[in-house]
C-alpha cells in the first residue's frame, strides 16, 4: 500500500499539468472561436513565398 503514497502525488501532478495546459490554452484565446481552426486545417498549406510578410511581431494588446 505504500506505493500509493508515490502514485497518488504522481497522478495528481500529471492532472495538474493537464489543467495548466488547459488554462494556458483558454488564456491564449484558443477557445474563443472553435469553427475556423477546425476547417483551417483542411485548407491547402500556403507555400513559404506566400506567407504573410511579418511587419513586426504584433504585441499583445
Amino acid at each position: 500500500m505504500i506505493i500509493l503514497l508515490f502514485l497518488i502525488p504522481l497522478s495528481i501532478a500529471l492532472a495538474v499539468v493537464f489543467l495548466a495546459a488547459f488554462i494556458w490554452a483558454v488564456r491564449s484565446g484558443q477557445y474563443e472561436d472553435t469553427s475556423p481552426p477546425a476547417l483551417r486545417a483542411l485548407l491547402e498549406e500556403p507555400n513559404a513565398a506566400k506567407a504573410p510578410r511579418p511587419i513586426v511581431q504584433p504585441p499583445q494588446p
Binding site: 497518488i8 495528481i12 477557445y31 474563443e32 472561436d33 475556423p36 476547417l39 483551417r40 504573410p52 511579418p54
Partner: protein, 811 residues
Amino acid sequence: MEWDAPSVDTPRAGAEAACFHCGEPCRDGSHEAAGRAFCCAGCRTVFELLTENGLADFYEFGEVAGVKSQGAPPPGQFHFLDEPAVRRRVTQYTDDRLTRVQFRIPAIHCMACVWLLENLFRLQPGIGSSRVNFARKEVSIGFATAEVRLSEVAALLTSLGYEPDLNLADLDQAGPAPGARRLWLQMGVAGFAFGNIMLFSVSSYFGLDHFSGPHLKKLFGWISLLLSLPVIAYSAADYWRAAWVSLRQRRLTLDVPIALGMAAFLLRSAHAVIFEGADGYFDSLTGLIFFLLCGKWFQQKTFDRLVFDRDYKSFFPLSVTRRTGINEERAALSQLRIGDRIVLRHGELIPADATLADGAALIDYSFVTGESAPVEKQPGDYLYAGGRQVGGAMEILIVKQVSQSYLTSLWNQDAFRKRPRHSFATLTDRYSRRFTASILSIASGAAIYWAWRDPALAVPAFTAVLIVACPCALALAAPFGLGAAQRLLARRGVFLKDASALETLAAAGTIVFDKTGTLSAAGLGEVIFAGEPLTPDERSGLFALAGQSAHPIALAVRRFLKSSHSHGVSQFHEIPGSGIEGRVAGHWLRLGSASWLNLAAPRPGNAHLMIDGHYRGAFALACGVRPEIQPLLQRLARTHELALLSGDNENERERFAQLFPRGSEMRFNQSPLDKLHFIKERQAAGRTVIMVGDGLNDAGALKQSDAGVAVMEHINGFSPASDVILAASALPRLDETLRLARAAVRIVRVSFFISAAYNVVGVAIAARGLLAPVICAILMPLSSASVVAFACAATSLAAWRIAFGRERTAP
C-alpha cells in the same frame, strides 16, 4: 445550396448565367472577364483583383463563395476613420509601426470568406496577418501604420464586398466579453477536481476500509478537501455571489438553495473529513458544480448564436458628412445641430428629420414604413429620419435634433418599452420560488423533529435534505430543454432572443400580421405594363437598357421582360431619382418618372417608357404575397385568433380576405399607433399576442406585443424591437415553430415533474435520517443527467415529429 460548383473549365456565360463571383443571376453578358460572366462591374473587379494576385483558389471552395460587391466605395467614405478621435476608438492597438484593428463584417458566411480575408496581405502591401473569428463574424487585421491608412483597409474590405459594420453601438461596446473565457476556466477547474476526486471516491464506494483500514480513507478525504477548494473558491464563485445578492434583496431565487445546498455539502463534508475521519461528499459537490457550469455553458453558447441588437442606434450611420461653406467634414452624429447642412450619398440613412436642400432625392422608407418602393422628393420637401437615400448625392438641412427626431420620439415613448407582464416570471423562477420555500421548510421541519427525538441526527438530517434536494436537475431542465428547442429553431431560420420568448410563443392566443414586407414583399410583385404593346425587339432593347441600372424599378422591369437577347447600350445615362436613358440598336430609349419625361398629365405607373420621343406606356409594380401564406393561415386559424393590420389603403382587402379565414379581423390605413392600440386591446382582453411584422414603423407594435416576430429577408438585417427574428423563408412554417414552442414548454414541465419526483424520494429518505452517502452521491448526478437527457431527447423527438408530420401531410 442549389448552385453547381463553378468549375474553371466551364465558363458560365449566356443569358441565364449566374455570376461567377457571387452567384446572382447575370442581367446581361456585358460584364465579362476571362470568358466568365459577372453580374456587375464590382464583381468583375473583385475577380480580376483576386486572379491578378494569385488568389484564384477562392473560387475552388465548391460553392459560389463571393459576396456581391458594390464596387469600390466612393472616395472619402471612410476618411473619418483617419481622424485621431475615431481612429482611437476603432483600433485595438496602435504604435508608429503596427496597428491592429478589429472589424465586424456581417457578410462573412463561408470558408472561402475566411480564406480570402486571411489572405488580405496578398492584395495590399503593408497589411500583415489577418485572422477571422467566424462565430462573431469579425476580422482582426494588423497593418503597418506608416504604409496603410485605416480608411484604406476599410475601403479594400468594402471593394471586396466585405463592408465593415461601423456603428455607434459597436464602438460603444467595451470589447469582447471576458465571460466566456472565465466560464471555460471555471469548468476546467471543476472538471479537473471532479475527475480526480472521483478516483478516490470510487474506492470508498466499494468499501475501502474493508481492505486497508481507516488511515487511507482519512488521507483520501483530506486530498478531496484540498482538491475541491479551488472549485469552491473559483468555479462556484458566481453562485455564491448570486445567492448573496438575492438574499440581500430578500428574494428567493433558485440560486439560494443551490448555494445553501453547496454550503451544507461543504460544511458537512469538511466536518466529516476533519472530525470523523471519513471522506465526505466532495465528489458530489464538485460534480454538481461541474454539471451546473456545463449547463450554463450550453445556455451561453445558444445565446451567442443570436446577435440581437435592440439598440436603434445601429440604424444610423456612424458619422455624417457636414458641409460648411465649400468644405466637407466628417462629424459624429451627436455633434449634429439644427441647421447643419449634411451630404448624403447613395445608401446612406437620414439621421434626423430634415428638408431637402439640393440634389435628387429618392428615399427608401422601408425601414420606417415597410414599403420598399422609393419615394421621389423635391428640394424643400420634408424628409423623415430613417429613410435611406437610394439616388445620387443630396444635401439636406437638419431641422430637428437627432434625439428629437420622429424615430427617436417613437422609440422613446414609454408605451413602446416592453414591460414584463404582471405576475409573469420565467418558468424556472416561478417553480423555484415555491420549490425553495418548501425545501427550506422541509429541511427545518426535519431538523426540529430530530432535535426533539434524537439531537445527534438534527444537523445531518437538515443538511441531507438540502443536499439531496439541491435543485440541480431543476436548474438544468429549463436551460437544456429550452436551449435545445432554441437551437433546433435556429437551424430552421427562427432566432429567439431568449428562452422566455419561447414560453410566450407557446402561450400565444392571437397572432397579428402586418401586410407589407411580412405577408407580401415587393420583390415578389407582379409588374404590369400598361400602354402600346412592345415588339420583341423593343423588349430586348429595353431589357438591355434596364440592365445598366441597379435601381429597384429597373431590376423589376428586367425581371418582367425576361429577354434572352443581349444588345449593346450606348450613351447610357442614369439620372438619379429620375430615370435612365440610352441608345439601343439605333433607338433612343428613356425610362423614368413622369416629370422627367415632361409628360403633361399625371399618369398612373411607377416608370414611364418613351421610345424615340414617343410615349409607349408605363410599368406598375405591385406587391406580391409570399408563397404558401394561405395554407399557413388556414393551419394557424385552427388554434389561434388571426388579425391583419396594414398601413396601406383598402385596395387589397379583397385579395387578403380570401387568404385569411372567415371572421379574422382585418384593418387597413393603420398608423403605428393604431397598431399599438389594437394589440393593447387584445392584451386587455386577456390574450397573449404575437405581432408578426417588419420595418421600424412596426417597432412600437413589436414591442407592445408579448412576442414580436420580425420577418427578415437577410438574417444579418437589423431588428430593433423584436423578440424573435424569422427568416422570410421560414414564415410558411410559423405554425410549426409555435407547436415546437408548446412542445418544449410541455417537456420542461415534465422534466420538472421528474426532477421533483427524484427530490421527493430523496427528501423522504433524507428527512428520516436514513440517507447514506453513496445514495446521495449517485442520485444527484444521475437525476441531473437523466433529466437533461430527457429534455434534449424529447425536444429533438418533438421537432422530428413535427417535421415528419409536415412531410406526411404534404401533397
